[in-house]
């Protein structure tokens, strides 16, 4: 039987890669250290499979066919296409786990969910920026769980909780001896291409982190709907944290690092959920 071995979350942002060499040493060291700590924690859980919950930043999908959730069932995935990330994370191919991904897909389809599927995805910075800085070696098999947190209408926070539970259910029912971890990628507050571009809302971020630590699921979902409604667009990526949260059973949230970093336009947080195992 498969085992759910850990749930994690991290922020991402293109500027972290694009401007890495120009960042102030304080910011670069803090980011490098926080991602390295996350990498140590992920590695300590010894995952064979890492389900990464992230949006697609117009890399694979467009509004002619925009999935709410798409599961990447390929045996491998293309590396990041962005010029700012390619040289830093030069994986042209990343390993997948088609077998577990197909099980996740089927579990969803038979449990009242409607995922799209993809046999072939390119993984953009939402997936690969954390992988670059976490320095996992070797890379676990990556199962991309692409959740629309980029374009309206997005899935509700309540539905993100449902999806997290579904991932846990799929792990629990998978008959292979596989260790599975989840990483929610995105947020916290940021704003891109909007009038508030570049602004980081530290109070909002700390509120969200507090809710993840304290709130029961029902009020977590409604509170986040309320708080994010008028926030910068990038904050909506916290949906991916909420999936990781519910996958871990909605308990044991430990945000071990946070800093508002206007230098990279992002409120940067890092978290681990304590899991049963």
């Amino acid at each position: 039987m498969a085992e759910f071995v850990g749930s994690f979350a991290a922020s991402h942002g293109p500027l972290i890669a694009r401007d890495w060499d120009k960042l102030t040493p304080r910011v670069r060291d803090w980011l490098g250290g926080s991602f390295a700590e996350l990498g140590r924690r992920v590695a300590a859980s010894r995952p064979d499979v890492l389900v990464i919950v992230a949006p697609d930043h117009w890399t694979n999908f467009f509004i002619d066919n925009l999935p709410t959730v798409c599961v990447g069932i390929g045996a491998e995935h293309d590396g990041p296409p962005e010029p700012f990330l390619k040289p830093r994370f030069p994986h042209r191919k990343l390993p997948g786990d088609g077998r577990f991904a197909r099980h996740l897909l089927r579990t969803a389809l038979t449990s009242g969910f409607d995922p799209a599927l993809s046999h072939h995805l390119a993984l953009d910075h939402g997936f690969c920026l954390p992988l670059w800085l976490m320095k996992l070696d070797p890379l676990p098999a990556i199962v991309p769980f692409v959740l629309n947190s980029l374009e309206d209408p997005m899935p509700s926070f309540a539905r993100c909780l449902d999806w997290g539970r579904l991932i846990a259910k799929a792990v629990a029912s998978y008959p292979e001896e596989v260790r599975v971890a989840v990483l929610g990628s995105g947020g916290l507050s940021h704003s891109i291409g909007e009038p508030t571009m570049g602004e980081v809302e530290e109070d909002l971020d700390r509120d969200c982190l507090r809710l993840l630590r304290e709130a029961p699921d029902a009020s977590l979902a409604s509170s986040l709907e309320e708080k994010l409604r008028n926030a910068g667009n990038g904050g909506h990526e916290i949906r991916n944290w909420v999936v990781a949260h519910a996958a871990a059973g909605s308990r044991g949230f430990d945000a071990f690092a946070y800093a508002a970093l206007p230098e990279v336009f992002v409120g940067c947080g890092f978290a681990e959920w304590k899991t049963a195992s």
Binding site: I63, D64, D152, I192, G193, P195, T196, M197, N230, G232
Partner: protein, 99 residues
């Protein structure tokens, strides 16, 4: 503040403007064609006249309403607008909205 509740953002999405910018983001040949002759490039898409004018005038106030903000940011990058200028022009919109 952006009030997402006050407008149906999905209804405002302009498919062909979005498509044009998405196509620019996918293919350097499109970017070259765009740089050579914006009008000729836009002729490939059935853009509404007011959208076409907004593109030619770099009218951020109109464009921000009709295309995903991430795509718009990319678009101004390929137009050669510097990040500080884009930020300044976006922030100017905010002040107008607030006031």
């Amino acid at each position: 503040m952006i009030d997402r509740a006050e407008v149906d953002k999905v209804a405002l999405v302009d498919y062909w403007l979005s498509r044009m910018i998405f196509d620019l983001s996918r293919d350097p040949a499109n970017v070259a064609a765009w740089r050579k002759d914006r009008n000729a490039f836009m002729d490939r898409y059935p853009l509404r006249p007011q959208i076409r004018e907004a593109v030619l005038a770099d009218d951020l106030k109109i464009l921000t309403r009709h295309v995903n903000a991430y795509l718009l940011r990319f678009y101004f990058g390929i137009c050669g607008m510097s990040e500080p200028e884009l930020l300044a022009r976006l922030h100017a919109l905010k002040e107008k909205t607030d006031g």
